[in-house]
């Protein structure tokens, strides 16, 4: 199959070339916006769940340290929600799609995603750490002080391992994205 055969094969596809009416464009734009909002909302749901659980703990447990820890975790969840909102709104608007070449657009998207992943320890895991430390301290000393020491150590290690696992996975994904950015940069240097 030669070049022309390939191009003819591609161009022979039956496609629609009809423009949408302005009303349709407006209603579709609203529909897409609602979809983005819904997607963001589902991401916030986990934070809402955490907040509800720890509000219950404040009400259910009479121990000071656990209540302070629960309050700090709720504040941490609110910080995460605010950061999610900021990061979602930093995505390029459709109007910017035409003013950037595909290379610039693709690189900017990769950089945005890489930076968000590299900072996960700070904005996604970090805000929960003070609350978790105080809460676990309360569990070990106020709620069940007679429990075996080893049990507390194991529970703390498991929590720390989950947090480190989340950070490690995000660093690994960021490194893969960096590899793609490096390849793009190499392409750009080669063409200069």
């Amino acid at each position: 199959m030669n070049d022309n055969d390939l191009k003819n094969l591609w161009k022979a596809q039956a496609v629609s070339t009809t423009a949408l009416e302005t009303d349709e464009l407006i209603s579709n734009a609203r529909r897409f916006q609602r979809r983005v909002s819904f997607r963001n909302l589902t991401e916030y749901l986990a934070a809402v769940l955490v907040i509800m659980v720890f509000i219950y703990y404040i009400w259910a447990f009479p121990f000071t340290l656990m209540r302070i820890g629960s309050g700090l975790i709720i504040i941490g969840a609110l910080v995460v929600v605010q950061q999610m909102h900021l990061r979602a709104s930093s995505r390029p608007l459709p109007g910017a799609h035409g003013s950037m070449s595909c290379l610039e657009f693709y690189r900017a998207e990769l950089v945005r995603q890489r930076d968000a992943l590299l900072a996960v320890w700070l904005w996604y895991v970090g805000p929960f750490v003070p609350g978790m430390v105080v809460f676990r301290w309360g569990v070990e000393t106020e709620m069940d002080a007679s429990a075996p020491f080893a049990r507390g150590v194991v529970a703390n290690l498991v929590i720390a391992a989950v947090m480190l696992g989340v950070i490690g996975f995000n660093f690994w994904t960021a490194r893969r994205l960096q590899g793609k950015i490096d390849r793009l940069d190499k392409d750009m240097v080669e063409q200069e």
């Binding site: 591609w10 464009l25 459709p94 035409g98 070449s101 595909c102 610039e104 693709y106 998207e109 080669e190």
Partner: protein, 184 residues
């Protein structure tokens, strides 16, 4: 008599609408074909096409002829397509078609030539869907018969780099189409 304050906005909207209409009249078919390169499932492809139309229409609010209409339209289409792929990362279907599936197609169509073209198109699409975002854009623009210079303007790559990429992808494609035919 002073003009009403909204007249400027109305004129802008009219310009935006007329540019959109012109863009679709000139490049509507190209845009629709591009979406085949970014989504295999027909219902989702239709949704993507509408998304491209909306993004294009919205983008014309900021179009000041900083580049040609075609470059602008193609950039919007490909950047929306690339975003769609990133958002919906899924396993790429295998390069080869199932032999039974191919047999069924032959039975139904009873036309070997048409069936072969459909299989070739399937293989071509399989290859396109296995490519990275930038390589995918380059080959889609190449299939639309654009020159290396025009592809470079849209993608931001140099003509030389475009030519290298096209050559590399064509070698890959020839191998896929060749091996597909040997097996069928």
């Amino acid at each position: 008599m002073a003009e009403p304050p909204y007249s400027n906005t109305q004129t802008q909207t009219q310009t935006q609408n007329s540019r959109y209409q012109l863009a679709i009249a000139s490049f509507g078919g190209d845009i629709a074909r591009f979406t085949h390169g970014y989504e295999r499932e027909p219902a989702r492809r239709q949704e993507l096409l509408q998304e491209v139309h909306v993004a294009l229409w919205q983008s014309f609010a900021g179009f000041n002829e900083q580049c040609s209409l075609r470059t602008w339209v193609y950039r919007v289409a490909h950047n929306v397509g690339a975003t769609h792929v990133q958002r919906n990362r899924r396993a790429v279907k295998g390069i080869e078609l199932d032999v039974d599936e191919a047999g069924l197609v032959i039975d139904e169509q009873a036309d070997i030539e048409i069936t072969e073209r459909r299989l070739d198109l399937e293989r071509l699409l399989n290859l396109i869907h296995s490519l990275d975002a930038l390589d995918r854009e380059v080959i889609l623009l190449y299939l639309e018969d654009l020159s290396a210079a025009a592809i470079g303007e849209i993608t931001g790559l140099s003509s030389r780099n475009v030519a290298t990429k096209v050559h590399r992808i064509k070698v890959l494609l020839a191998a896929q189409l060749g091996s597909g035919k040997e097996k069928s």
